[in-house]
Symmetry: D2
Subunit: 422 residues, 4 copies
């Protein structure tokens, strides 16, 4: 018969508490550095779990104003669980990671999506909208999310770690800091900043027994976690979801995999920056090693196989954008897919406002829902063309264009600052 004895749970290698500030917990770090020691070790082929705090490390609450978003401390973000060393992994290898499951803690069945202040975090439209803090709390009910702050929608999440990667070698880290430093230098005083240099303030490695000089070195040199890079990192690819298989390059002995920034759901682009449904939770992983895989597969970046259980919403309403700033001064850009993406998103936001959502709700919804954005064409000079498709099936009512026009409903407003500024 079924017994406890013949039922072996998958081990949880690192446990965390989602209600305790990240910098008070073990097995968490928030910078990338080769000298951060592995906190746990696994053998290839072993299924294991990691518990993960939300990306801010418990800074955001389940409530109805956005003051916590306004005041978020961004030096303490992307609290990663790890590193986990994989027995036998060596520089030059490929680390195959099966992302077997991603789910919220049972004790915390909610997540949030935030719009950050222009001066504290920004986002894709931080300048266009002169962004003020806003947020939506999402209730997580099994595979679905709904929000009291964005009524009228319900969707299945394409749950994934926004951030997953192997540790950089010293050489790779130096390359990152150099190239990003040059960009920062070229855009001094940009608001929001174009990139983030190493910053000891807020840096954290939740391990004892790290010699002070090593810790200082890590904090002084450690790469910030915001961008995706050659090792993976904060790619925020929604389809790196539960059920996907990912191939990462290995740069240090043991590979030293770290994971964080769990998303219950996210749209392509994650436009509001804190744009996914951010959550704390648990990932289930299995790894294997392909010796010499970097060379075998030409891995300059990770590659992956998507999951067969990603949500299927086949009917979509699709918006186009071209690299002309039609929502601004009408300027013509030169084959700029970022501009084209932004125009497609602004077209979608305008449409959502015509059916009754506020600009803030629309911005949050495009960030969090399983929106798909394709690069349509990128050779038709001078206009890149990017599309953004909203699944029709996530809405409780029919949003399609009709001869009689669109019905504007009243969906209220999302959570805003306690001082009422939007």
């Amino acid at each position: 018969m079924a017994t406890q004895a013949n039922s072996v749970p998958h081990p949880t290698l690192i446990s965390v508490d989602p209600f305790v500030p990240a910098d008070q917990q073990k097995g968490i770090h928030n910078r990338w550095h080769p000298d951060i020691p592995a906190f746990a070790t696994v053998k290839p082929g072993q299924t294991f779990k990691l518990e993960i705090v939300d990306w801010t490390g418990a800074q955001i609450g389940n409530n109805d104003n956005s003051d916590d978003v306004k005041n978020v401390d961004l030096t303490k973000i992307h609290n990663l669980t790890g590193p986990v060393a994989v027995d036998g992994a060596e520089p030059g290898d490929c680390l195959v990671v099966d992302i077997l499951d991603v789910r919220p803690f049972d004790k915390m069945p909610w997540g949030y999506t935030g719009i950050f202040e222009l001066e504290n975090g920004g986002g894709l439209f931080a300048r266009e909208f002169n962004s003020r803090a806003a947020k939506a709390i999402w209730d997580l009910d099994g595979v679905y999310a709904t929000s009291r702050h964005i009524p009228g929608v319900r969707f299945a999440g394409v749950s994934h770690p926004g951030l997953i990667g192997t540790a950089p070698s010293a050489e790779l880290l130096a390359t990152w800091n150099k190239r990003e430093g040059e960009l920062i230098a070229a855009h001094a005083n940009s608001i929001p900043p174009v990139a983030f240099p190493p910053e000891p303030k807020g840096a954290y490695v939740g391990q004892d027994n790290i010699p002070e000089e090593v810790r200082n070195k890590i904090y002084a040199e450690g790469a910030r976690t915001v961008p995706g890079r050659e090792h993976g990192g904060n790619c925020d690819i929604k389809n790196l979801s539960r059920g996907s298989r990912c191939y990462f390059p290995v740069f240090v002995q043991g590979a030293n995999l770290s994971v964080g920034d769990l998303h219950f759901s996210q749209g392509d682009g994650e436009i509001s920056f804190c744009g996914a449904i951010e959550m704390a939770g648990i990932v289930t992983l299995r790894t294997s090693i392909i010796k010499g895989g970097i060379e075998k597969f030409g891995l300059k970046n990770p590659i992956f196989l998507p999951s067969p259980v990603d949500p299927m919403y086949s009917a979509k309403l699709i918006f186009e954008g071209i690299s002309v700033d039609l929502h601004g001064d009408g300027k013509q850009y030169n084959m700029d897919a970022t501009v084209a993406y932004k125009q497609a998103a602004l077209n979608a936001i305008d449409y959502l406002m015509k059916i009754g959502y506020t600009r803030e709700q629309a911005y949050l919804l495009l960030s969090a829902a399983p929106v798909e954005s394709h690069v349509g064409a990128i050779v038709d000079s001078p206009n890149a063309c990017v599309t953004l498709g909203i699944p029709i099936g996530i809405f409780e009512h029919d949003i399609l264009p009709k001869e009689e026009g669109l019905v504007k409903k009243d969906f209220g407003q999302c959570a805003i600052r306690s001082d009422g500024v939007v």
Copy 2:
């Protein structure tokens, strides 16, 4: 019983011959201008067909060298069938177009994909590859394409018009010419050019009875057809395919719809510029009008509903790219999705070369096959992240990463120049 009398075919409003140069045929034009008269008129609700030459107007042949691509006359491209006026359409309306079918001529069951010379047409990697002319001829067998120049693959086409749009008003045309002229001025002598100004040479409107002064005006001012713009145009969106429903803004009396540049198939991005499987053929359309639709739906660009019969290849191998030029000088770009797209594509090309395709074959294949490119994240400063997914099911053999590495087969080479230069 079934009789000819009770079987009314859908009328072909404009007929062309795919084997005759476009500038010798009626009902074709290759510039956008409000003064081009409608060549045919339909009532809303009527199903009709348009015949369409390939985008070069018969300049490319079904043969095994690329000299025709090398010498293509680009002043004579994007030969559009139309304009077709829709009874009752007025500026400010939305023209709903059902793209009911797109197929090649029975008498011409082939298409082509070309890499253009750096100095004559270019393409996404024109400079990186110092492109020389190359091409692949595709045999079109019902829903499938195969190529003697790219063995080992077969795929179902997501057939669509690369180019479809309404006529611009005089004001809109002036806006286009102004903004693109400024871009050209800012990038003088760029190779390939960043944009194309009006050019009387090669301009063509296949209609008699146009007063000479009007014709001269059209040729002098007419916008070139290369980019997609507010009216649709050369968007090269692969999912604007047979079965889709599109909503276009109307800028002139009658809307004056024109269609061209049929693609049997195309990957997101259409990277080699002549990157789709270009074909001549027949579209079947139906239109309706939504009065005041521009205002009702906030149409700054077309919007559309994709087709339920687009090919479904659920298993993919996905490559990531970030806005760092890892295939070049390692430079860090600032949230540049175009750079990220290029890196993802270069990662894919490298991989395809490891399994045996030449760089030219890989470039053509990514352009023509139903490849999907998503904007992963566009807020993680400084790195945009773009993915490019190749459907696994289009290959005759298994291309997935294996522990033993990749097997390099010999697929020969695509069609190249008769002088052997690649």
Copy 3:
């Protein structure tokens, strides 16, 4: 340049006229018999076309009453184009057939779905409904079908030959006639009949030069075309559609493939018997031979790979049925999937009637639309459970269950008999 010389159309091996009675045309036959000579021959690897009359051979017209359905001559049905011999195919081989395209004649862009009289053809609910003739004419607009007789729906067709198969050997034919004869004997005078024995009346092979004694033998012994059998035949599998690859067993020299009964669309089950959207049209095929394939793959029946371009309607409303006659006398059947299917279909018909369709319209719609029926469970004694899913996206309005109940619209009625009997 593109020329007629370098553009070789796929050859049409057999041409027919959809407006001429089938029994006045060459290259058509309506019985299965090994002695029917091949009418055309192809080499493996060659792409070719076959033209095909509608299954009744032009007996049904595009009009608004169902008298032609009432009076259809069922001894003259399933007019097949062929046989086509494949060079080198021998008994024991597997004939691989790529169904590359299936489309209506340009000159006949319509099809029909019929309910047959109880006494002349029947159908799944012939007895339950005491069926009287009814029909719907469908307009075929590219990938879509709509009907003036069933307003409110539009759907993409999963186009396929209802009937495709290789010729039987003499031994196989004898087996068929024996086993079906025994069934007929066991159900004498059943209305509608449980099966159809060989019948010289109406038998037809459109070839000259067949010796009279051979022709008489064919007509006397030839198997009727109604059921699917080991060789394929009238399987009416909607997913044997354009883009699919099928593996047929070969029983005679040359395989002798015949094709007929084209369907623009069909639901799983094809419940009204003439339940697909029946059409005349053109198939494009390619074949190859696998020597000894029957043994290699254990082919007792054909196997196939479905098409990547089958319509994708992911959202469905699904009805369950169990093997209890809840719509009739409440009788309990023993694990009978046919009864369960019927109950699911009757549940669906009732639902469609609640939103305003007549029973006849509902019956026709379930037959013709891309409805999916799954065998849920077939081991839970005594109840088989079968599901039937209607795609939501084919309706112009929302049909989902709502708190306020269902809105009953007026959709008129389909085409019925001129005497008004339904």
Copy 4:
């Protein structure tokens, strides 16, 4: 910040221990009867969890022989968690149930699929195979299942409750017992039995405070749980999965919903009877009530909307079956979809045996994997045609038909009886 206070977990209404025999636990019952009191109550709109033992109530172990399957006590099966009363539900209403999640216990990450003995449980091929007990243990790793007993496959589960339903009224229960009793009487001594009459032995309701006479009545009259019926029940519909929305008829005050028989995965048909991946686990549900819904929607059986996160395996190898017993005596059946299903399944089993699986492994695999079975056609007298499609992507190697034939690998054998009898 995130706190325990603002994080309210979904309540678990009924808890069970998967390692304790079901008949020693509270909140479990294994018969259907209107007099079983509700064990818990919820308000409409509340998200809640139920814990559920495996269908045998811990009789089967994670080990490598099938003796436990051989000796399973079938009077004690389908241990349901519940009933749960929904506030306000009344007879005639429709109970809408959102199946929000279905997952195994973290402490029991495994499940099993069993072949039952001919004389103890049976299964679809119990007589054809003279079935002896066999089983496969599946490791559940996040969304995937693999088995040491069936190497070479890995698939994502379409997780669902095999059994979910509302309580019958006294009248409905009487109808069930009458009609099934008649069937049993008509097939006396059938092995395996055609149906199961009420049976006090093994009957169980895990609630105190039930008056003895009521308990005796429940045990004497209570309907067995094997078949699906009007109220839902053991439908074993794989797509009634997490993410689906189901509409049940209500027959008693409070609706009294019960759930059991969780399946990590199942193929259409669940052919080996214990054919799903049976597991213990947790469901997350939410309910709402539509007053008078039975009449509004014509609910003779439940209807449902499938989940957007069901696994998507688009490429399949599809087997056909017709209602002729080609694997047996060649007998012709009359439009019998059950026979056709069986033939399709036998064709698939033969094919799987050609690539190296044993008959037992093939039988178990078809039962457990996300196999799709469609009713192709059910009107082509005398042959029903049913298809069964195996997803290609679940295999680690290529199983498609090849010119060179199929490669037969060695996959060992599944778990069999300790006496070695198969």
